[in-house]
């Protein structure tokens, strides 16, 4: 029995040490290899460098229309980012009319923002008021009804009109074809038989052709004062996907990779120093239980990083705060157990009975305090955004890992440790 428990104790310790070693250094056995966990951990923009931009759509749309517009905008921006050849872009809708774009590790953030944010909102607007649209006019200067936007345009290219001037020819998708047919029908049925459909780019009329016939073919041209180059540019913008809505940059974070990684490395180093100091403190103060707590903490740290990698969670600076808090709670769980253990020994119980009793009584404390904090983390995850979410994720992972390591690992090791000593003094008893 004694021998078996001693063996189990050291087996667990060796296993944890091995796991931690692999996590730090990686391992290669033949063709099988695990890279150091540091390489697999996804680092947030605030650590790794990169750019995050939040755009707000300037629109009065709401409900299903807005949702559709935002989805389209997201797709188009996704296409533009792909054309830039950026890796791991994250594009998320935030709230109703916001779009958060994250480009980790991007080399030239400013140029990237320029390309992504280029609005190029193209609209075909049916003029409904008495004021006619003219080239160069602002859309606010006349009354109109939107017929379709650039999203419905399937292809665009430079062509020539009968006067040999460059024009932009375009083809519509099936929805666009229907919308355009409807628009041209309305234009030609307004009593005079002649309606006007203005072509509006970024809020300015670039062409104001009149429309006399209903166009159902889904193909048409834009006349304007184009040179070949300006026509080509417009065609390109339309092809690349003009955004269906104007975007305003409401929040940006550009983090140079040097700045980010430096602070990350210093944080890692600092955290390692901190943990070593904590372990020393625990070993000096609690003796054998302190050593066991240090082993449990090593496993805790390893589990947290592996779970983060497994879930594909991103580590951010607030995320580090979450880990620090949960590390505190992991230490706390051990401290609560050891203090209870001391109390049990004080009333004269045997070491074995004290360990069982101490555990039993510490459990309700640990469960209640962890569950309460977990509830807070869960709500912050559900209702928070950006940095708050990052904090909540690591806090939740940390709480679960700390419960596991404190409860199962500390308890088993404490019991097994009885195999090689039964001196209460080594367990923190003063008596």
């Amino acid at each position: 029995m004694k021998g078996k428990n001693t063996l189990l104790f050291f087996l667990i310790v060796a296993l944890i040490a091995g796991l931690a070693f692999v996590a730090i250094n990686g391992i290669t056995i033949g063709t099988f290899s695990i890279s150091p966990v540091k390489d697999d951990l996804k680092l947030g923009l605030d650590i790794r460098g990169g750019v995050s931009v939040v755009y707000e759509a300037q629109t009065d749309e709401s409900g299903a229309d807005l949702t559709k517009t935002m989805e389209q905008t997201k797709q188009i921006i996704g296409r533009r980012i792909n054309e830039l050849g950026l890796t791991e872009p994250v594009i998320t809708l935030q709230g109703d009319k916001r779009l958060r774009i994250e480009l980790p590790g991007v080399e030239n953030a400013q140029d990237a923002i320029n390309v992504i944010g280029k609005t190029a909102v193209l609209e075909f607007d049916l003029v409904t008021g008495s004021v006619a649209a003219k080239e160069g006019m602002d859309v606010s200067e006349f009354e109109y009804e939107r017929v379709l936007t650039g999203i419905n345009i399937k292809d665009a290219y430079v062509s020539k009109n009968s006067y040999n001037q460059p024009i932009v020819a375009f083809k519509l998708d099936s929805e666009g074809t229907d919308l355009f047919a409807e628009g041209t029908r309305k234009a030609s049925s307004n009593g005079t038989g002649v309606g006007q459909i203005a072509v509006v780019l970024d809020g300015k009329v670039i062409s104001a052709p009149t429309s006399r016939v209903v166009i159902t073919s889904g193909e048409a041209t834009i006349d304007g004062n184009f040179t070949y180059d300006t026509a080509n540019e417009l065609a390109m913008l339309i092809r690349g996907g003009a955004l269906p809505v104007q975007l305003e940059e409401v929040q940006t974070s550009v983090i140079g990779p040097t700045l980010g990684l430096n602070s990350f490395n210093s944080a890692i180093k600092a955290a390692i120093y901190g943990i070593i100091i904590v372990m020393l403190f625990m070993m000096i103060y609690y003796r054998i239980p302190g050593i066991i707590a240090s082993i449990a903490l090593t496993l805790y740290a390893t589990v947290v990083v592996y779970v983060m990698v497994g879930l594909g969670a991103t580590l951010t600076l607030p995320g580090i705060a979450g880990i620090v808090i949960s590390l505190g709670m992991a230490v706390d769980a051990n401290v609560i157990i050891f203090e209870r253990l001391k109390e049990e020994m004080k009333v004269g119980k045997s070491l074995r009975a004290s360990i069982d009793g101490g555990f039993h009584r510490a459990m309700s404390t640990i469960i209640d305090s962890n569950v309460t904090t977990f509830i807070a983390a869960l709500i912050l995850f559900a209702f928070g955004e950006g940095p708050i979410k990052g904090f909540a994720v690591t806090l939740m992972i940390g709480i679960i890992s700390s419960m596991f390591t404190a409860v199962i690992v500390t308890k088993s090791l404490l019991r097994f440790s009885l195999a090689f000593t039964d001196r209460k003094k080594l367990y923190g008893s003063r008596g």
Binding site: A109, S263, V278, A321, G322, D368, I375
Partner: protein
């Protein structure tokens, strides 16, 4: 261990906390809070210049932009500068600023960081954070009421609110900029303070079951004394980790560790000196009329 009479001076703790919060509120009304660009809208640019450049030189360099900026050094060797302005500069404008530095010091785009917040964003971030904390409080109150009893839940939430106000007061008094690091501090408080409070309350709950005397002040004294070693050791170890981050971390980590230090300290103080007395006083006030229904 000899039982320490924590309840003896409970009014003093209330007065102390009340005074700190009051001074904070007055300072806030007089000076206003030093709101970071996350809350007011604006732009922060950080440039790594690889050598120390005087603030005046940087100010002259960018004077054409009329930013009315705050300029401070960053980094251990002061080789970086942080430029803050209340104006929300768009990408094109930021590139112009970057180019000025590029022409003069030959920096690359990787040496340049920027944060920009539109004017409405700050209010929204704040409102969302407040909503999240309030909803979290409600759910924690429900859980504590079920596992303990309502008075514990109320005392825990009072303690939580105390912490948040105390924190705002500290920021108002020290004039530290309220930015995303402040949110980190609030979150730390929500996480740590509640955990700490519950551990003390757990012992109170246990002692209430054992001690039918309804001497709530005495129960608090016993419970807080019994959990004292744990409270000190846990706070100490947590503070050691955060302290290491503060001492060994780069400047951005330092700035980030400060609110955590404050959060853990305030959280520990309040669970002993605010949450516990609030429970005892409320319990005694409800007193003989209501029977105790601890689970």
């Amino acid at each position: 261990m000899k039982t320490i009479n924590f309840m003896k001076h409970y009014k003093l703790w209330f007065v102390f906390s009340g005074a700190v919060i009051l001074i904070g509120l007055i300072m806030m009304l007089v000076n206003g809070l030093n709101l970071g660009i996350d809350f007011t809208g604006g732009t922060m640019m950080q440039v790594e210049l690889a050598k120390e450049v005087s603030v005046q030189e940087v100010a002259d360099l960018i004077s054409d932009f009329d930013l009315n900026p705050d300029i401070v050094h960053s980094g251990v060797d002061k080789t970086g500068v942080i430029i803050k302005t209340k104006q929300s500069l768009d990408n094109a404008k930021r590139i112009e600023v970057f180019n000025v530095f590029k022409d003069k010091y030959g920096i690359e785009s990787k040496d340049f960081s920027a944060d920009q917040f539109g004017p409405a964003m700050g209010e929204e971030i704040r409102n969302r954070a407040i909503t999240a904390v309030l909803i979290a409080s409600v759910f924690m109150l429900i859980y504590i009421s079920i596992r303990f009893e309502t008075v514990f839940g109320v005392a825990a939430i009072v303690c939580l609110l105390h912490d948040v106000f105390f924190l705002i007061a500290i920021y108002a008094i020290t004039g530290k900029s309220i930015s995303s690091s402040f949110i980190a501090a609030v979150l730390t408080i929500v996480g740590y303070s509640i955990n700490d409070t519950i551990v003390v309350f757990d012992r109170v709950r246990e002692n209430v079951k054992r001690d039918k005397s309804k001497d709530y002040f005495g129960i608090i004294n016993t419970s807080v004394t019994q959990t004292m070693t744990r409270t000190i050791n846990t706070s100490l170890t947590t503070l050691l980790v955060i302290g290491a981050l503060y001492v060994f971390g780069a400047s951005s980590i330092k700035e980030f560790a400060f609110p955590l230090l404050v959060g853990v300290t305030v959280g520990t103080y309040s669970s002993v000196f605010i949450a516990s007395p609030v429970w005892a006083v409320t319990r005694r006030y409800l007193g003989k009329n209501s029977h105790y229904a601890s689970k």
